[in-house]
Symmetry: none
């Protein structure tokens, strides 16, 4: 029991890591098996296809995202939560400059697929982030919270992509600062929760 679950976990984490670094297409089952220290043939006991492993990698990223937002939820002020999110992004600047945003880059790859049902999976994880972000803007009482969420998350995806393409972590820092300033500049909205 323990062992089985542990190995599944190891495989999932290894898949998340290696796929982030090499991309889904260039990553072989053998790569993941090696990274997880599991014999190749045994991988299929836990995940029946490579696609299932990629889905698991995506799930792992969703889990990590959940841990991040879960921690931020402890902050009282929604604005502080959003600023905390931006700071977390910036703290990952070196990884972003080398490999991009794990979910965003995976979305790019998977969206090219016509078949397999995996092509919409990454979108779902991104929507989790959008939804959480929108919730913060709504709590701030700002108008068009989902538009603001698109803007913030879009900015993150854009700066990650540029940092990656230019191989320059400073892009993350500079744009992160700008986003912090933007969040600070937003007015305090009407906090009265929408009736119904």
């Amino acid at each position: 029991m323990r062992t089985a679950t542990a190995k599944r976990q190891r495989l999932m984490e290894a898949a998340a890591r290696v796929v982030h670094q090499q991309g889904a297409e260039r990553t072989t089952i053998a790569d993941i098996a090696r990274a997880a220290d599991v014999p190749v043939g045994n991988v299929y006991y836990y995940y029946k296809t490579k696609d299932e492993l990629v889905a698991a990698a995506l799930g792992e990223h969703a889990r990590q995202l959940g841990m991040l937002t879960g921690g931020l939820d402890l902050l009282a002020d929604p604005r502080e939560r959003l600023k905390g999110l931006v700071k977390a992004w910036v703290s990952q600047r070196d990884v972003a400059a080398r490999y991009g945003c794990p979910t965003g880059t995976l979305a790019v790859e998977l969206d090219k697929r016509a078949e397999g049902g995996l092509d919409a999976e990454a979108g779902r994880v991104i929507r989790l982030l959008l939804d959480w972000t929108e919730r913060q803007f709504r709590e701030l009482g700002l108008p068009d919270p989902d538009g603001l969420a698109l803007t913030l998350v879009g900015a993150y995806q854009g700066m990650s992509l540029l940092a990656n393409a230019l191989r320059d972590p400073a892009v993350m820092t500079r744009q992160g600062d700008r986003l912090i300033g933007w969040l600070d500049s937003l007015p305090e909205g009407d906090r009265t929760p929408a009736a119904g």
Copy 2:
């Protein structure tokens, strides 16, 4: 000669198109050959490796970008040029929602590569766009023109990625409107060209 050049051209265009739609890894030489109506064996006369074909696809995207900015340069007002750029992006909303930004998605794929020298190629094309954009902001006399360029191009990459991941062209429209508003809100800076 003419024929040969024409075939090169056809292959380049086909590569740009097919690679944009399927991604570099999932695209086979045969796919491109078929799209260009060139026999498989003949491809190698024009491009010695698949990487060269991908580079050619990138070059084609750079060419198309050049045509776009070239057209915009005819406008007198830099602010109008930038707004024209945004409008051009939005006009491509359906393609973006399906396949993302050609250069951005290619950058994501190629940046995962450790070897081959192709990993930095996409960054160069993106820099062309950044440079042109920065030039407009500078001409407007605004401070930190390269930061502004990062912001504008980043926003484009971000909204393309989100539109693609969510399969929703409306993301392009909404964020495009926001960018137009932002550009309009920017103050008229000091137009005195930097002495240098």
Copy 3:
């Protein structure tokens, strides 16, 4: 003990059924284990190799054949016994049209094998049927009883194969009627049992 024997039995029956339906090569140990509701790892306690399981399936078919002929032996007239055999075949027409004769189709598959000793096993089961049939013809006092047995059993194998290949149970009915007619047309031979 009881339990163990019961499991052996379940496995044998499951093997007979699944191998008949899917063929020996396409049937996996896991298929049989699932059909017998036995954990995969446990199968090997009862049958050391897959070949042993296939042999067991063959044994099960032999057992069922024995039950059939055993019942027919209760009939006083050998001719009636043979007609009963044919009727039993025809009653299985739907199964035959879908999967063929269990023993015959298994013989076809196993006979292709050069090694393992299993290649002659199916022949032995078929010989059981031939021997019983020959005995009936002999009891009828007919000349060349083993030739007649070959004819009858061959007709059965042939009509099963055709019914299966054409996916048409009517083949069994039509040819069954013909065989009944043939059996009825055979003269009453000299019943004096062969001395020695």
Copy 4:
């Protein structure tokens, strides 16, 4: 052209031969490639899947059957044609005793498949033989010509299977003689061709 066609031919013949000897499931692409003296990777240039190769093997058997019946058609008397068919079968007795009827055994294997569309293919080849046979009986003016065809072809499949299962070519000879006698015993029917 010549080369390509020749290799396709070689592969088809090799597939027919090896699949007959080893069975479709136990035959690997490598086996066929080796038998045809073609590099494994090259096989796929001619046949996109293993199933296509098996279908080609079946086609080869159909072709050989066509050559046989084509030759027999030169005989004036339909009864002689049928007797010629039986004699041809008997002449193959050693192959039949070792590997069975090529088409019949392939039908047995393929009929176990639920998917792929190959499961009905062998039935089609067998029907070719049935149709030709039925035509002869009809020309003889006999009633129920398709029932007679089922009987004759069924007898062939049955005796091939028994000869194979018992590893005894004599089964072919004995049953062949019986069939010849049966054909000779059939009355000369009404030769008036059916109006219509």
